[in-house]
């Protein structure tokens, strides 16, 4: 697959900078063992675009390929065809928190701060801000195995935001959130959108349409409505 770092001057059709352009992405998986091995086509030429300062939804039924498309964009999965252009600095919040059970919340911030290339000062500021914004500062010294599902999800989201990426990819980021946290999440997303961040949110809830600037629907591996 061709995956490129996007030039910051690339303009999308709406006049804003495109921070993500995926064109004709194809992905299939092989399941089972020989001679019963079969090929499952998940993405069959999916294309989408996200511009700076835009909150875009990606909806579709279970198994339509939403999470697979996001993982291809992030670089966790290779694709069989198509191309992805995105900035080097992205944030990714997976559907299931990918965390280390025995490490604390603070240690996760440190590990990711280093991975993002943040210095100590930036890291401390980002950590304090996100702990406050998502209201889980009291769990800073807790290990992941000691946290509730909702608090794990708050950390999962905070990790993706701490370096203020140009493109944020959120795969059902609010599962496990209570109603207040859910509303706070949308406020946070909208504030960052207004500050120029391009955000792609995977969801299966069509009811969220009014909170989004645009929405893509994925059907059997292709964008079928937008």
């Amino acid at each position: 697959m061709a995956q490129e770092t996007l030039a910051p001057t690339t303009l999308a059709s709406g006049g804003r900078v495109a921070v993500l352009t995926a064109e004709g992405v194809e992905k299939s998986f092989h399941r089972g063992i020989w001679p019963l091995r079969r090929k499952v086509e998940v993405l069959r030429g999916a294309s989408l675009e996200v511009r700076a300062g835009e909150l875009v939804g990606l909806v579709g039924e279970n198994g339509s390929g939403k999470s697979t498309l996001i993982q291809v964009v992030v670089g966790l999965l290779g694709s069989d065809g198509g191309s992805v252009k995105r900035p080097e600095r992205i944030g990714y919040c997976p559907q299931q928190p990918m965390l280390w059970e025995k490490l604390t919340v603070a240690e996760h911030f440190q590990l990711y701060g280093r991975a993002y290339g943040m210095d100590d000062e930036e890291l401390a500021a980002a950590e304090a801000n996100l702990l406050d914004e998502l209201q889980f500062a009291r769990y800073r010294g807790y290990r992941i195995e000691e946290l509730s599902g909702g608090t794990r999800q708050k950390l999962n989201l905070a990790i993706s935001l701490m370096h203020e990426p140009a493109l944020l990819l959120l795969d059902e980021p609010y599962s496990g959130f209570d109603w207040e946290t859910y509303l706070r999440f949308w406020e946070m997303a909208q504030r960052r959108r207004d500050a120029g961040m391009g955000i792609l949110i995977v969801s299966h809830l069509l009811a969220e349409r009014e909170r989004l600037d645009r929405m893509y629907e994925l059907c059997e591996g292709r964008i079928c409505a937008c």
Binding site: L76, G78, W100, E107, L111, R114, I159
Partner: protein, 237 residues
């Protein structure tokens, strides 16, 4: 590269230190193998047609305790952290730095397990050549770190993978030329390390061929472990 990998590896070591049962096993397994298992190992070997004497059985059991622990811990390092490691690599650390962090953590764990097994052996029967014995025990650790990591990289299921590590360990331990007379498997992963450990425990010198063989296998196993950690942290095809 190393400056980024070392702090991450200390976090990975802390993961193990915060598992109380794992810590208990680091003590219990070498003690069990050296104090209890070794006493019946000589008789067991005789029944299989091998030549393992009581003193040798005590020495070699320290190596097998280390092998068993390091194989299991390396397997679970890969198996239980696959998703989190890949996310960290994709976030900017990169699969090579994640793999280096994992190998440093595995080496620290291997040295700790080797030290516990060596101390148990020392207290149980004394060791004539302590440095030789420690090097041989660490060769067991390195070899099984490679085996555990490679199984973890290719077998996704935790039950299936841990069973496979135990199978490799069983075949290795019970096919050793000193354990059996029929020589079903001429070359086992820890054959040379076992020769070194038996010789060191009994106060005998070891031929250069055994040192070279054990060293090469240990280094190759660590290279395989690094490749397995890298493979688990990189983009999936």
């Amino acid at each position: 590269m190393l400056s980024a990998a070392l702090p991450t590896s200390t976090a990975f070591v802390r993961e193990h230190l915060r598992a109380p049962l794992t810590l208990a096993m680091l003590i219990a397994i070498p003690v069990f193998f050296v104090l209890v298992f070794a006493s019946v190992l000589g008789e067991f070997s005789e029944a299989l047609g091998g030549t393992l004497a009581s003193q040798s059985a005590t020495a070699i059991s320290a190596g097998w305790a280390t092998a068993f622990l390091c194989g299991a811990l390396a397997f679970f390092q890969v198996s239980s952290s696959r998703g989190a490691d890949r996310r960290l690599a994709a976030a900017g650390l990169g699969p090579l730095r994640v793999a280096l962090s994992r190998i440093f953590a595995a080496l620290a764990i291997g040295l700790t397990v080797s030290a516990v097994a060596f101390a148990t052996l020392w207290l149980r029967s004394g060791v004539e050549h302590p440095l030789h014995a420690f090097a041989a025990i660490f060769a067991f650790a390195a070899t099984y770190t490679g085996i555990g990591a490679v199984v973890g990289a290719f077998v996704k299921g935790q039950l299936e993978g841990s069973l496979l590590v135990v199978l490799v360990f069983s075949v290795d331990a019970f096919s050793d030329p000193q354990m059996t007379s029929n020589g079903l498997i001429a070359q086992t992963p820890t054959g040379e390390a076992a020769n070194l450990l038996v010789a060191a425990g009994g106060g005998q010198g070891s031929p250069g061929g055994d040192w070279a063989g054990a060293g090469l296998i240990a280094l190759a196993a660590l290279a395989v472990a690094l490749a397995a950690f890298w493979s688990s942290a990189r983009m999936r095809a």
